[in-house]
Symmetry: C2
Subunit: 489 residues, 2 copies
Amino acid sequence: MNDIEQVMQNALDAFNSYKTLSPAKRAQFLYETAKAIEEARETLVPIAHEESNLPLARLNGELTRTTNQIKMFARLLEEGSWVEAAIDTADKDRTPPKPDTRKMLLPVGPVVVFGASNFPFAFSTAGGDTASALASGSSVVIKGHSAHAKTSEKVFEAMQKAVQRAGVHPFTVQHVLGSGSTVGKALVLHPFTSGVGFTGSFNGGRALWEYANQREQPIPVFAEMSSINPVIFFDGTLQQNAPSLAKTYAASITLGMGQFCTNPGLLIAVQSEALDKFLTHLGKEIEQVLPQKMLHSGIHSSYNKGLNQVLAQKGIEKVGESAQQPGEDEAFPTVAKVKAGIFLENPHFHEEVFGPYSLAVCCTGKEELKKVLKQLKGQLTTTVMATDEDIAANGDIIDLQTNMAGRIILNDVPTGVEVCASMVHGGPYPATTDARFTSVGTTAIKRWVRPVCFQGFKDGMLPEALKNGNPLKIWRIVNNEWTNSAIGQ
Amino acid sequence: MNDIEQVMQNALDAFNSYKTLSPAKRAQFLYETAKAIEEARETLVPIAHEESNLPLARLNGELTRTTNQIKMFARLLEEGSWVEAAIDTADKDRTPPKPDTRKMLLPVGPVVVFGASNFPFAFSTAGGDTASALASGSSVVIKGHSAHAKTSEKVFEAMQKAVQRAGVHPFTVQHVLGSGSTVGKALVLHPFTSGVGFTGSFNGGRALWEYANQREQPIPVFAEMSSINPVIFFDGTLQQNAPSLAKTYAASITLGMGQFCTNPGLLIAVQSEALDKFLTHLGKEIEQVLPQKMLHSGIHSSYNKGLNQVLAQKGIEKVGESAQQPGEDEAFPTVAKVKAGIFLENPHFHEEVFGPYSLAVCCTGKEELKKVLKQLKGQLTTTVMATDEDIAANGDIIDLQTNMAGRIILNDVPTGVEVCASMVHGGPYPATTDARFTSVGTTAIKRWVRPVCFQGFKDGMLPEALKNGNPLKIWRIVNNEWTNSAIGQ
């Protein structure tokens, strides 16, 4: 029913208009977008609750996070230095004469954003991918997620109000629904599409990446896919804090019924009395967690299938499970353990089981722990639970962890992703398709741009960011010096 | 004969040592590398001349450029801000408490660099790819080009001296020879390889990119491949400068026998008397260019094949060719023209013919010129030859050009790539496999790194670039402000 050809022609037309707007004008559009979504809060949250089974409080918080993200990108545009302006002025006296060259980041073209099932607001229609793409100067085609199609349509309605109020091109954002394997595929394959944002399953992200690479002109796909977020517990900290660590981790494992990309799915430690004590406490904590409905029945049946598969493997032992049996579409919180020797030999244990499940891997010693780490694939996060003495004695392990993930966390839980300039929500494959970028935080904007160098242009012909007078007052590299001053003053 | 397994194990061992060195120590190694190559100049240049047929003066200049590039990266390390450090400090009073997060770029692992036939020094063994990778903290495995294998071995010998003098890990750089389809393929497929640099043909670059995407963990391939570097001549400038433009462009088209990635292979203009006059002048200039030996007989036979193929197409007319017949392995400088209507319908005309050849496309008007531009693929460069009035009247054309290439040049030639912070030597596919990066200039270092976020780490545990005291005195984004100050002072 969606005429993809028309949608993409509209997106290109909108891009050619929208990209010419000043950063201030794009910022105004983003502020209007945040405002319109905030105005629709009372409509949006109940619909999202109905569609996703997520609690109202969580959805209210997520909506606030969403509008805060949009405003963060507006402020980034107002500050303006994100374009990485670099200027090398001419030197006519050099042999050969040195030309004037000036570089900045420019948007690449229409972007396609796929809504994510687990964040109906923050990683969907007007979520971080859309906000960062609009900030960059790209037009956006949103492929709404079928699990919360009504929410997506209503968020899009709010965005349309912002389009009108800000007076930007009417097709700056467009919204389509349909299956990923038909509509989604057609959007990725369309020659006008210049970039793709996705958060979801490995199979879904990998398929989009393959479509993008089959194109005559391959395009970047930023798919955030699969991560089990290994946590290392060192002995020093287990000896000091086993009960409180167990409480903290039981909460993190089951937060939002485990439906977070950064859910701690793997707990790794060297066998010890302290570890046994910690696992006993963890099991008791998990017993107290009530089953809750998952996002939709598809995710619920995937969870049950994955959980049953892993629990059927040889050598696995249950550490604890919810004391209450689950109802329809409810997830059953579960923690299990396995010896590292068995873990190392069975790749089933390495796979993500998306939901309130975590596996403790018990190692005979540090060398085996390192073997476990080396066998793991790329991750979004990895965590170190350690005393200062543990850290000092285990630099080699911290180094392995740093190599593995986009974010390394000390003495905290991986769930909870701060939206800020220093965040990296990304990581080596298969955590994402491109470890060089983040989907959360201000630098998420860098996914939708490429550098262009202007050589020999007169001042009046240059983009504002590159003019001598530095009218945007941004930080630039001018003749190898960082400065926010004008040139020749 | 090369034991790839052993080479890559060495490369990983070296990486794990080399990446821990301070930026100052890495800079010292780069300075030693530049010095050792400079010391070997008298040996290197004659061997490269013998292998490549390139003139001694050109090779001397290229060697100087190569050592200057290496020193540029050493200075970049000394300055240090390239790591994109961003810090958001903790706020314990916020609900929920805001963690301390700090991000910087870290090297990804061993890098494989393929030598390029057309730059035995600047894009080969110790060229820009190698220098930028070593600067980033990566170890490098160089696959020397068979067309200048001795030069490559001798440059590597010089690098080995620098390895010893600087006292870095003995396998920080390694050198292998062999065919691209066996040794090259094995290097790209090896699981320890984390990135690939290549400059050469479309088929070669595309093959490496496909190998990289077949891996269990795909890796980035930065292949700079194919570009015909379209130049638009506007009527105003043709009317004023036809004879001098013809002289300038004849020189650019035949510089180094056209064996530059930025060779202007396509000249586009609206039909006019001034254009006829320009082409007549250009033809006469080309007649005076003497045939010279190409880099090797393979490139020469490719040039002849490509030239004969394109000259056999319907509607092509010769504008001029060298007055002297070529000798063995010598290229025959040639310029031809074709009507835009014919050009648009025959994709043969759009292909790169690597050598001293250029095709003029004569358009019936501005609309047809825009059609030609829209049909072209991604380019490294595009050039505008125009008066101020031409520029003012043709913003739509400049915009199409900006969309198409990594660098847009006003009133100059595309040959000659300045090595500086604002250079973009890259561009949309098929010019390169990744338009977001450049292979020339300081930002070429960004190809070999990824961001990592450290959350909740104590000051003493953090990398130098992220410590409160800012011991490296670099520019950082601290709580959304650009500053080179320490935190809390």
